[in-house]
């Protein structure tokens, strides 16, 4: 190897981590708790993601769902393809490769003293949970915490026990909805935007953090514009195809932005001149 390179780590080399807990959250989403084999916790902040791999099958970007205030690393993996299917077969004690953390973080400092409104669609709750838990663990640093959660159908709901605990807390507001009515559900029915009028009075002055499927952003952003939430107070967490996670492979680009480095968390006002974003 040449001399100038010998001091640099290999940015594509994963570290190993061991699965310490696993549990299906619903029919397609697997929750994993991991410990790094190095014995040291990964140094990450809410909003970041890791590249998860199984040697021989592949690698994919997965959001970190745990908060750095807790031990270990928590991920939620939806079974959609070859790698995620293989990950679903893993058991406690099995190992995964982890690279990262990568990407931008939620504005944990700037948000201090402010009210927070989280709008989550489906699996979008996964990365948002990191900041929600972080804010709950630093409760006095933040103002009101309001969480809106929309899920396609009753059976797809994620983190049910945890949401039930959140709903019991008096220092936060959690509203849930499902798109399609269900016998066992007596809560709100309709897409996540139908929850927005219920908290409209809280929106001015709050930081609003959005994560969900691509289609959701359009509608939520329209509602927020109607409620006159300034674009500087809105944060979106975007997904794109990723291969390297480190700004080289070009796959994650949205116009001139690299989601793996300039995102996945973007201040919405920074995307004003980025037509491919939403």
């Amino acid at each position: 190897m040449c001399e100038c390179c010998s001091g640099h780590p290999d940015i594509y080399l994963p570290q190993m981590a061991t699965i310490t807990k696993r549990r299906m959250l619903n029919g397609t989403e697997l929750f994993l708790h991991l410990e790094m084999d190095s014995g040291e916790d990964l140094q990450y902040k809410p909003g970041q993601f890791v590249e998860v791999s199984l040697a021989g099958i592949g690698e994919a970007p997965i959001s970190i769902s745990s908060s750095p205030t807790q031990k270990g690393l928590e991920l939620v993996v939806r079974n959609v393809g070859s790698l995620t299917k293989a990950i679903h077969k893993l058991q406690v004690g099995d190992k995964l490769g982890i690279r990262g953390p990568y990407g931008t973080t939620y504005p944990i400092e700037e948000a201090k003293g402010k009210d927070l409104v989280f709008i989550c669609g489906g699996i979008g709750l996964v990365p948002q949970r990191s900041f929600i838990r972080y804010a709950l663990d630093h409760r006095s640093d933040y103002g009101k915490i309001i969480v809106l959660i929309g899920t396609k159908c009753y059976s797809m709901r994620l983190f049910r026990e945890e949401i039930a605990l959140w709903q019991e807390r008096r220092d936060m507001t959690v509203l849930e909805t499902i798109d399609e009515a269900h016998d066992c559900w007596d809560g709100n029915v309709g897409v996540v935007t139908t929850l927005i009028p219920k908290i409209e009075n809280e929106l001015p002055g709050s930081l609003v953090l959005i994560c969900g499927p691509p289609i959701m952003y359009k509608f939520v952003l329209i509602s927020l514009a109607e409620a006159q939430v300034p674009e500087e107070n809105i944060y979106v967490n975007l997904e794109r195809r990723m291969k390297c996670g480190v700004g080289k492979c070009g796959h994650c680009q949205i116009n001139d932005k690299y989601v793996c480095q300039d995102g996945p968390v973007f201040r919405y006002s920074d995307l004003a001149l980025v037509p491919e974003a939403i």
Binding site: M16, G250, I254
Partner: protein, 347 residues
């Protein structure tokens, strides 16, 4: 060190000596009526008069397929560094400009050791263009000649003699093998300057009607221009324009398991933003499913996005390869940029 002058015979001897250093020498040679970089077996195969190669020499700094890691299936991984000492002989200035851009892109931010290690072990002997290719427009892009970035620069003078200018320690180490070459005279250096002036003027089969540095501004105003749709209507999404381009560096990463089913390797391979599924994610959602959007993305990358990352240099070096490679005859960047320029108000 001073510039050396070779007769053609002395130069052949120099190349023969290079071939004996034990390092592979990759150089332009004739291939089915065209030219390609490949391992050089004898000095006689070297074609200093080549116009342009089918693929750019970037294939030696960023190979089509490059192993990054080796592993046991579902087990731990180990870094692989594939780089080896190599001499890249006969690189045209525009292709050198492209390699220098790539050096910066892989070095900046997260240091890409796989690229950098390979690159550090390569000695580049650049060569001023002797025969302009049918579609070259390097003059327009300011890459018809280069003043730095090479280890040695070769210039073929009108009388057939060859000047060699060693600019780095790596270059000087090789030039020591030059044998009976003599120092170039004042007149030789003037003749070399004439070659540069000539090339700066004639490598212009297509003429960009503005300074390249204006392109980011032009593009800033052209996102919704009809040209994207007009051109892309004919696009096959074949990705040939990406494949042949010396400045395209997007890649895919995949795992492959060996025949023993126990071991395998993770590799990267060239990818192209014109290919239909370049931005497709799970659930078959394609973030750039519109052909015109992909077509536009390529020309924005060349003219705006990549330049913003590398201090303003335009990421099209005017080699003209995409123009020749595109069956639909729509890939010419100059045609598009000139068209946009017409409709742009530059204040």
């Amino acid at each position: 060190m001073s510039v050396l002058k070779f007769t053609p015979k002395q130069f052949d001897d120099f190349v023969s000596t290079l071939l004996k250093t034990g390092r592979p020498v990759m150089a332009p040679q004739a291939k089915n009526g065209r030219f390609a970089f490949g391992p050089l077996a004898s000095a006689a195969d070297l074609r200093l008069d080549y116009d342009v190669t089918i693929l750019p020499p970037k294939k030696y700094v960023l190979p089509q397929v490059e192993t990054l890691l080796e592993f046991e299936v579902c087990g731990p991984c180990r870094s692989v560094q594939e780089g080896e000492p190599m001499i890249l002989l006969g690189v045209h200035p525009y292709d050198l400009a492209a390699i220098l851009q790539m050096d910066e892109l892989f070095r900046q931010g997260q240091y890409d050791k796989h690229y950098m290690d390979r690159r550090c072990q390569i000695t580049i002997i650049a060569l001023d263009v002797v025969t302009p290719s049918a579609n070259v427009f390097a003059s327009s892009m300011g890459t018809a000649t280069v003043t730095s970035g090479y280890d040695i620069l070769l210039t073929v003078l009108k009388d057939g003699s060859i000047l060699a200018d060693a600019a780095t320690a790596k270059g000087q180490e090789l030039i020591r093998l030059a044998g009976s070459a003599v120092p170039a005279s004042e007149a030789d250096l003037l003749a070399r300057k004439a070659v540069w002036e000539h090339n700066n003027a004639v490598l212009n089969k297509h003429i960009l009607l503005c300074k390249p540095s204006l392109l980011p501004k032009v593009l800033e105003q052209s996102y919704n221009h009809p040209v994207w749709e007009e051109k892309a209507r004919l696009c096959y999404s074949c990705g040939s324009c990406n494949q042949v381009c010396p400045t395209c560096y997007c890649f895919d990463v995949q795992d492959r398991v060996n025949w023993d089913l126990k071991t395998g390797y993770r590799f990267r391979a060239w990818d192209g933003c014109l290919l239909e599924n370049f931005a497709t994610v799970a659930g078959n959602h394609n973030f750039r499913k519109d052909r015109a959007a992909r077509y536009r993305h390529r020309l924005y990358r060349k003219g705006k996005y990549v330049p913003e990352k590398i201090g303003g240099q335009i990421a099209c070096v005017g080699c003209g390869r995409c123009i020749s490679a595109c069956t639909a005859k729509i890939a010419n960047p100059v045609e598009v940029y000139n068209r946009l320029l017409q409709d742009t108000k530059l204040g």
